[in-house]
Symmetry: C2
Subunit: 346 residues, 2 copies
DNA sequence: TGTATCAATGTAACCGATTACATTGTTTTT
DNA sequence: AAAAACAATGTAATCGGTTACATTGATACA
């Protein structure tokens, strides 16, 4: 284990008979240093294989140029797309990401938050776990003026910006679309209404029913963890209903797909017997047959927006209070799984 | 923007009338400090909201407890699963991840490598981009004794460990399975055979053909980027073939799925007319109809192994030279898309 | 009782940058 | 030609830990 010594600004300064201050200034392209000196320094740095020591700077500047990201899960299509968006912006702006997953548990989320805090991230991007009730583990950031932006699974915190879509409106559109197809007994499958995304979707669903004089029925509300397997189980419950529902609006595509597969296996025709709408526009939605009607969710854009907004805050472009909520456009994508009218006439 | 001052070991030392050395030792639970003193220090640290400054340590120790991860794409099921595995191990061991994506281009991979290098990662985990020919951008790490582990898309570098599956064997099994189903005109869809994964799968495919006295035919080899859209295009090419092939072995599930959808639309029956085998065991493989036979790819495990192996190196548990290649178990999962014999009898 | 041993703590150099303030030499102004 | 203005560079303190080496005081041993 030889440990080749690192080249520092001291080495460069000594070789060129200038001070470390000049070297430091030259390396950050400070206009106060003459062009000639700069060139000498740049060339020598290149030649000697100098590399910048971020830790020295961070120690001195009390900044880290690091952004902490906490997501519920890394291995979901939606989340990895968001992260790809975040990464592209952060990378461009010279920020480094520390990414961790809460695995949908509040406990791990708290641990992760602590790690991020101790790593002195300059800012945080967070999407909350299913079962996080209390968000006091983020108070430490707020207390230290570390900007915190929630995305997707947000929390209505007075000091934080959030980036999301209009879940309520999207759910309203999805449900209205089903009603327009003649559906009246519409099941909604969703997760525990703790997180905004599920609360809002449920609200949109109820509103659409109300606006069309369809009473909301508790029995048509199925709560699970929205996994594909949960969709299969939901299908079993649905098959017990009498009369059968004529439509299902699931709060994500994965669950919808699991449910569709199970129902098809049971001989249900989709959409003729039961129409389907999902949420997210996950790639599986165009693989399942019939293709799944869903809400397009701009994940990459969401990542870009969240990161850009955070970095703007960090650079002092706009104050953290200026923006409360950034709403991204989302839209209903109508595919075969919900088109009763056309499919009946086929 | 008030900037509340940070509590440091100096503050703790002053309050307790001990030296910073004692505080530093106590905080890392050095047995040389008496229990009583330790308790005092811990309690005060808690009370005053002390937080550890990693940068000061990193600056002093010349270590960063950071691992750099470069992947071709973040938003693929396989990769995000691998990263989830890496994250879980790294987090447990107190390491932080810096993750970036090459977007499948050598150029961005080089930039990312430079960023990682300048961030002084303690080690690297890399999966190469499609079009990386020359891997000299990783020499800087090797020169500085920074361990580098490749996973999945590996490079046969004499100084690096690689974590992968036996692609050749898996492809051999997949092809042999198709031959056992009576297939003789087997198309192989894959990416440019630059990366080991594609080279090895092609080799396995060819070997299986040879072992069953089936001549390899160039026209049955389709090269594309393995996206779902590329699968659709491949379907168009396949429909031009006369006679039609009787099986397709695709180097990933996404491409297989795109191809299946397009062929089905054209009236081809699967597996009766054309049998299908994919690669990766992506979730879509159980959504597509018929369900896709594929190779199970232990992504999470691969991430865990790669991270654990790297951290072992870093902790000096085993030398970097000790291990050359770690092969993970993978297996053929037979589903309906390839079962000609059974499906004919249905 | 004198000395060796040891536990507990302290001193101070060091890691590699940034930057306020000081200094030097040159040009411009009057 | 002296004073003012300015461009270029230097000096030295600072960020918050780690740790080799030194010191202190108590106990064990002969």
């Amino acid at each position: 284990m030889t440990k080749p010594k690192e080249v520092t600004i001291y080495d460069l300064a000594r070789k060129l008979n200038v001070s470390i201050a000049t070297v430091s200034r030259a390396l950050k392209d400070d206009p106060v240093v003459s062009k000639k000196t700069k060139k000498k320094i740049f060339d020598l740095a290149e030649e000697m294989g100098y590399r910048y020591n971020h830790f020295a700077r961070n120690l001195r500047e009390q900044r880290t140029y690091t952004i902490g990201v906490i997501v519920p899960r890394l291995n979901s299509y939606f989340m990895s797309t968001v992260i790809a968006g975040i990464e592209s912006v952060a990378n461009n702006e010279g920020y480094t990401l520390i990414i961790s997953q809460s695995s949908e548990t509040a406990g791990k989320e708290i641990t992760n938050a602590k790690t991020m805090f101790n790593n002195r991230v300059d800012g945080m991007l967070v999407s909350l776990a299913y079962d996080t009730d209390d968000i006091s583990h983020f108070d430490q950031f707020i207390k230290k003026n570390i900007p915190l932006i929630f995305f997707d699974r947000v929390n209505d915190h007075p000091e934080c910006t959030s980036v999301q879509i209009d879940n309520r409106k999207s759910a309203y559109e999805a449900t209205t679309h089903l009603i327009a197809q003649g559906c009246r007994r519409i099941v909604h499958i969703t997760a525990t209404p703790k997180r905004n995304v599920y609360i809002d979707r449920l609200a949109g669903y109820k509103q659409a029913l109300a606006d069309h004089q369809i009473p909301f029925e508790e029995k048509y509300l199925l709560i699970n963890n929205l996994s594909q397997e949960a969709g299969v189980q939901a299908a079993a419950e649905i098959l017990q209903m009498n009369p059968l529902p004529d439509a299902i609006f699931a709060a994500n595509d994965n669950c919808a797909v699991g449910c569709m597969i199970a129902l098809k296996k049971a001989g249900i025709r989709i959409p003729a017997d039961i129409a389907f709408v999902g949420f997210n526009n996950d790639p599986v939605s165009t693989v399942i047959e019939p293709n799944l009607t869903t809400i397009n969710y701009p994940g990459y854009k969401m990542g870009e927006m969240a990161a850009a907004s955070l970095i703007n805050h960090l650079n002092g472009v706009n104050s953290i209070d200026a923006t409360n909520t950034i709403l991204l456009r989302s839209e209903l994508i109508i595919r075969a799984s919900s088109q009763k009218i056309i499919s009946d006439s086929e």
